[in-house]
Amino acid sequence: MEEQRSKVTLHGMWISTYSKRVEIALKLKGILYEYVEEDLQNKSESLIQLNPVHKKIPVLVHNGKPVAESLVILEYIDETWKNSPRLFPEDTYERAQVRFWVSYINQQVFEVMGQVVFQEGEAQAKSVEEARKRVQVLEEGLKKHFPNKNIRENDDVGLLEITIIATFGAHKAYREALGVEIIDPVNTPTLYNWIERLQDLTVMKEVEVPRDKLVNFLQNYRQKLLQQAASA
C-alpha cells in the first residue's frame, strides 16, 4: 500500500520536549520512521530548507513533504493514520477542551517553567510561584473536564496525555537539578498521578531521557545561561 511504502522521517533533538511528542505519537500508532538528530546550535542546510520559516525542530517529512510545529504535526499524524489510539476525542466539545488545555500548557505553563531554568534568587522564586499557580489551574481543569481519565494502556493516550508527559515528565529531574518543585502528589494529585501512570507505559520508557543525563544537561545548561546573563 502506498502509505506503508512512503517514508516517514522525523527531524528532532534528543532533549526537546516538542520532538518527544512526535516520537511518542509515531510509536503509539506503530508508524515506522527514520530519526534524524539535528543540532540547533549548528543548523543543517536540510533543516533550513524543510522549515525555512522557523528553522526549528521537530519537522516531520512524509511523502516528501515537510510539516512543522509539533501540534500541527500531531494533528496531521492523527488525520493521516486513523488507527488507534486516536489522539483526539470523537466528541467535538471534548476535542475543544483538549485543544484548550494543550494550548494552556504550551503557552502559559511551559514558558514560565523555562524561565525557572535560567533565573536565580528573587526572580526565580517569582517564576516558581507563577508556575505553581498555573499548574494548579491545570490541575483543576483536569479534575473538572477529564474526571474519569484512567491510563492503563496505549489506547488511553491522546494529545493531552502526550503534551503532559512531554512537558512535565521530567519534573523529578528538575527538582534534582534545580531544587525546584512544581508538581507533587499533595498539591497536584491528578496531574502527578497521570504522569506516574503514563511513565509506566512501555512507549514512554522507550523515549524517556535517562534521569542522570537529564539532570546533568539541566545543570550545565543553567550554568551556561547564568554565565551568559552575567557577562551581558
Binding site: V53, H62, V67, V72, I73, E75, Y76, R95, A96, S103
Partner: protein, 223 residues
C-alpha cells in the same frame, strides 16, 4: 440534539479575536446571540464563562463554554459540518492551514502589536520581525484570492487583523509596516477580504475603532 440551540458569543466589538468567531459563524450560516462584554471592565458573565483567561471571545453552546478564538473556530468547524467548510479535506493541506494560522496568531500579530504599541526600546526589533513575518505571508498567499484558495478559509479568518485592523492601527499609531508597494498580494487580499458580504456585516466601524485604539494605547509619539 438541535445543533443550533443556544449559540452565544461573548465578545468585544473592536476585538479581532472576537470577530474571528463571528466571521466563521456567519460564513457557515449559524445563528447566534451576541453579547457585548465591557471594555476595561470584566463582566460577571465573562468571569463565569472564562474564569481562566478572563478574555473574550467565549462561545457558549448548549450551556457549555469554550474559550480561545482559534479553539472556538475549530470547534465550530468540527460541530457544524455544513456545506461551507473553512479547512480543506486533505490532511497535508489542513496541516499547512493550521501552520499558517498559528504563525499569524503567535508570531506576526504579536510582533505587529508590539511594533506599534510596545515598549519603545523594543519597537525596532518588533518592527523587523513583523515585516519579515508579513513577507512570508505575502509569499505564501501569492496569486491566490485567499490563503484558503478560491474561498475564505481558516488562515484568512486567523489573519483578520491583517485584513482590516492593521491599516487602522498603522494610521492610529503612526507606525507603517505593511505598504501597498511592498505587499501587493496582501493589499489585494485585504480588499477582497473586507468586501465579503458576511465579513462586512461584522467588522467594527473604522472611525470608532481608530478612536478606541488611540484612547487605549496613545500614539507613537507618547511615552
Amino acid at each position: 440534539m438541535n445543533q443550533d440551540e443556544q449559540v452565544k458569543v461573548l465578545g468585544l466589538w473592536g476585538s479581532p479575536f472576537s470577530k474571528r468567531v463571528e466571521i466563521v459563524l456567519k460564513l457557515k450560516g449559524i445563528p447566534y446571540e451576541y453579547i457585548e462584554d465591557v471594555y476595561g471592565n470584566k463582566s460577571p458573565m465573562l468571569l463565569k464563562y472564562n474564569p481562566i483567561h478572563k478574555k473574550v471571545p467565549v462561545l457558549v453552546h448548549n450551556g457549555r463554554s469554550i474559550a480561545e478564538s482559534l479553539v472556538i473556530v475549530e470547534y465550530i468547524e468540527d460541530t457544524w459540518k455544513t456545506s461551507y467548510m473553512i479547512l480543506p479535506q486533505d490532511p497535508y493541506e489542513r496541516a499547512m492551514a493550521r501552520f499558517w494560522a498559528k504563525y499569524v496568531d503567535e508570531k506576526v500579530m504579536v510582533a505587529m502589536w508590539k511594533a506599534c504599541w510596545g515598549p519603545k526600546s523594543e519597537r525596532e526589533k518588533e518592527t523587523k520581525e513583523a515585516y519579515e513575518g508579513l513577507k512570508y505571508l505575502e509569499k505564501e498567499l501569492g496569486d491566490k484570492h485567499f490563503f484558503g484558495g478560491e474561498t475564505i478559509g481558516f488562515v484568512d479568518i486567523a489573519a483578520d487583523f491583517i485584513g482590516y485592523w492593521l491599516g487602522i492601527v498603522q494610521e492610529a499609531s503612526g507606525v507603517t509596516i505593511m505598504t501597498a508597494e511592498e505587499f501587493p498580494n496582501l493589499q489585494r487580499w485585504s480588499k477582497e477580504f473586507i468586501s465579503n458580504n458576511f465579513i462586512k456585516e461584522v467588522l467594527p466601524p473604522k472611525q470608532k475603532l481608530a478612536t478606541l485604539l488611540k484612547a487605549q494605547f496613545g500614539s507613537v509619539t507618547s511615552d
